[in-house]
């Protein structure tokens, strides 16, 4: 008679692990208190940023109320009351959102394609190199992107703008009034897109790489093509992570200062035509007006900063929740 002995011991014979508990003595408690207070610094810091910005700009919100958000002028008064101070950020707020949305729309397909390429198409040696390069690209200062945009990219951007205008001029938000291209929200959006693409790509890649390998292999075993496996397993699995990455990129684009400052004509007028060479965002407004601002105008700038802070905080909290959720499970 042949009997194959089982090597695995039966389940009943393993005892349950003992319940672990810790008794902290005085030194431990002190240690824990010190570490906890250190860890709370970031919490306190975030609170302090909000509080200080709000306190310093309370006068503006008090004076102007909702008009600060909806109005469309930024005029420093003459001081003697002949021309009154008139500060509001309406066009800059819409400009911020416009440029960031353009950037996001351009960056998303590139980032998803790039992430899929690195994870599923590139050879393994190339994959390592590309992901290192990706981390590096995300570390390049935005100032260098701005410099590159001003000196090298603008001519390309202008040509694409002219092409878009002549082919799609009938679309309301593409039509231009003056035939001047360059320094438009579109060009700035393109440069911002190249700035946030590495961020979104690296988050998406991270999420895609967590797709259970056996599910993909099952697809292949059932005769699926590579795209079939990606469409049915990888993309649904990574969807929330990709959205989180997009939110992170959006947050970065909303708060970008120097690249937009260098690439846009900052004009105080509501402008939704993406090829018109005027626009701006809140961050670049602060950088532009800070140097020669009066006391009252400074308060208005701080108020603008507070609005930007709230805007990005909401976007980032949303992103943090999603990314946290989708990368925690293994």
């Amino acid at each position: 008679m042949i009997k194959v002995m089982s090597v695995v011991p039966s389940v009943e014979s393993t005892p349950d692990p003992r319940e672990l508990f810790v008794i902290y003595n005085r030194a431990d408690r002190i240690f824990r208190r010190i570490v906890t207070s250190g860890a709370l610094t970031s919490l306190i810091l975030l609170g302090l940023i909000g509080t200080f910005l709000f306190v310093r700009s309370a006068q503006i919100f008090n004076d102007r109320g909702l008009k600060f958000i909806t109005g469309s002028n930024w005029t420093a008064g003459s001081g003697d009351g002949v021309i009154p101070d008139d500060f509001s950020i309406g066009p800059m707020l819409t400009g911020t959102i416009l440029v960031s949305v353009i950037a996001l729309i351009i960056a998303m397909p590139l980032a998803i394609g790039g992430a899929l390429y690195i994870e599923f198409y590139a050879a393994s040696r190339l994959r390592k190199l590309l992901s290192t390069m990706l981390d590096l690209a995300a570390a390049i200062p935005s100032l260098i992107f701005g410099l590159w945009g001003v000196v090298l990219f603008t001519s390309f951007g202008e040509r694409w703008s002219i092409l878009l205008n002549s082919r799609f001029g009938w679309v309301p938000f593409i039509k231009v009034q003056a035939e001047v291209f360059g320094r438009s929200p579109f060009v700035a959006g393109c440069v911002l897109a190249s700035l946030i693409t590495p961020i979104i790509t690296s988050v998406s890649r991270e999420v895609f790489s967590r797709t259970p390998r056996d599910l993909i292999d099952t697809c292949y075993a059932l005769g699926s093509t590579r795209w079939g496996a990606i469409k049915t397993v990888v993309l649904p699995f990574g969807r929330s992570g990709v959205i989180g990455g997009a939110m992170l990129g959006l947050g970065r684009a909303l708060g970008e200062t120097v690249a937009v400052y260098l690439l846009l004509n900052i004009v105080f007028r509501y402008n939704f035509r993406i090829l018109e060479s005027e626009g701006g965002n809140i961050a670049s407004l602060i950088a532009l007006k800070f140097g020669e601002a009066t006391e009252y105008e400074l308060k208005a700038l701080v108020a603008a900063g507070f609005v930007l802070f709230l805007l990005t905080l909401v976007v980032n909290m949303f992103a943090a929740t999603i990314v946290e959720k989708s990368t925690r499970r293994k």
């Binding site: 902290y24 200080f52 100032l143 590159w148 947050g251 120097v258 700038l301 990005t312």
Partner: protein, 354 residues
């Protein structure tokens, strides 16, 4: 009772594993060959039709390649055809995603190398105007200022980052989720807001712009990076090590301070370096806190101080040919700094895993 041990078959009898999905020499060659042919064809189209520039070439290349793919797979299963077309699209997206980065990298090296002469690294701009020839003046003051500010910022941030790392991995108190959440969302605070914050507090209280103010603004931006990296590396410490320490009778504070932290020493170096690399190119907060200066300042409280990003930014605003060339050289130095920091961080980061 007898057990049967199945002997592994001898090597010669076992079938050699074949990897049918692996590209053979022939398919690799034909792949490269078709790319070259498509490139030549699209180059010809670009030259003949006047679709100018590298962007026109790229577009034509993509169109021709898609056409070739469609033609090649015309007789096959529609699923296979779709797969190869999507493959082309994904490769194109990947190239486009990496293209700006490569372009920036190359242009900074090519345009910056011209001005990278010894004087750039040892002189300052006190006696030189930005429009002077490139062999006069330099950015030594800016490099020193930048270094000083990031080092002060790192000294402030590192202990706090380590403490929140220890909290998140060792103490795991009630606030773990909240702390992690706040650190995550803080990493998205716009840099100009950090600058405004320090302006409304530190600069207003001390009544002067200074290097210290710049360092504090950079520290605000650095903290999330350092804290997150510290948490990541401490997570990698095996629990066995902690259990062993407890089994030997150590208390929690001794375990954390004398077992866990020494284990991740090089990981913490990585955290600090990544934090520095994250903020060394930040311009916006420095425009509101440390301003800029044309000569050496060694005192962090001694008024406005020069730094590389503000140096480049100032030159760009002047906008003459020589000043823009200087800006490219400044960018090259900045990028080399980031690159070196990054590779050092990689080196230290790789050490822990071994």
């Amino acid at each position: 009772m007898s057990t049967v041990v199945i002997e592994p078959q001898s090597q010669s009898l076992a079938p050699q594993p074949t990897m049918p999905w692996k590209p053979t020499r022939k398919t690799q060659f034909s792949g490269i060959f078709s790319v070259v042919v498509v490139a030549i064809v699209s180059l010809a189209i670009v030259l003949l039709t006047g679709l100018a520039g590298i962007d026109g070439f790229g577009l034509t290349f993509l169109a021709v390649f898609l056409g070739v793919t469609v033609a090649r797979t015309a007789r096959q299963n529609p699923k296979v055809r779709k797969d190869s077309m999507v493959g082309v699209a994904i490769c194109a997206a990947a190239v486009l995603a990496f293209f700006p980065w490569m372009s920036i990298f190359l242009s900074v090296i090519l345009k910056g190398a011209r001005g990278l002469q010894p004087n750039f690294l040892i002189e300052n701009m006190q006696l030189t105007t930005p429009d002077d020839e490139l062999n006069m003046g330099g950015a030594a003051h800016a490099i020193i200022g930048s270094m000083m500010m990031v080092v002060i910022a790192a000294v402030i941030t590192l202990p706090l980052g380590i403490l929140s790392g220890v909290y998140l991995t060792e103490i795991r108190g009630r606030l773990t989720f909240l702390v992690r959440f706040v650190v995550q969302s803080m990493s998205g605070v716009p840099s100009i807001v950090a600058g405004l914050f320090i302006y409304t507090t530190f600069v207003n209280f001390t009544n002067s712009f200074s290097g210290m103010a710049g360092s504090l603004a950079l520290a605000v931006l650095m903290l999330p990076t350092v804290a997150r990296t510290a948490e990541e590396v401490m997570k990698l410490v095996p629990d066995d090590l902690r259990s062993a320490s407890y089994a030997l009778g150590a208390r929690q504070w001794r375990t954390s301070l004398m077992v866990v932290l020494p284990t991740v020493r090089s990981g913490l170096t990585t955290a600090a370096i990544l934090g520095i690399a994250r903020v060394i190119g930040e311009t916006a907060p420095l425009l509101l806190t440390s301003l800029s200066n044309n000569s050496y300042v060694f005192n962090p409280m001694g008024g406005p101080i020069g730094s590389l990003p503000t140096y480049i930014f100032g030159l760009l605003q002047i906008g003459t040919e020589n000043s823009i060339n200087r800006a490219w050289t400044g960018s090259l130095v900045l990028m080399i700094l980031v690159l070196v920091l990054f590779l050092t961080a990689r080196y230290f980061g790789g050490k822990d895993k071994r």
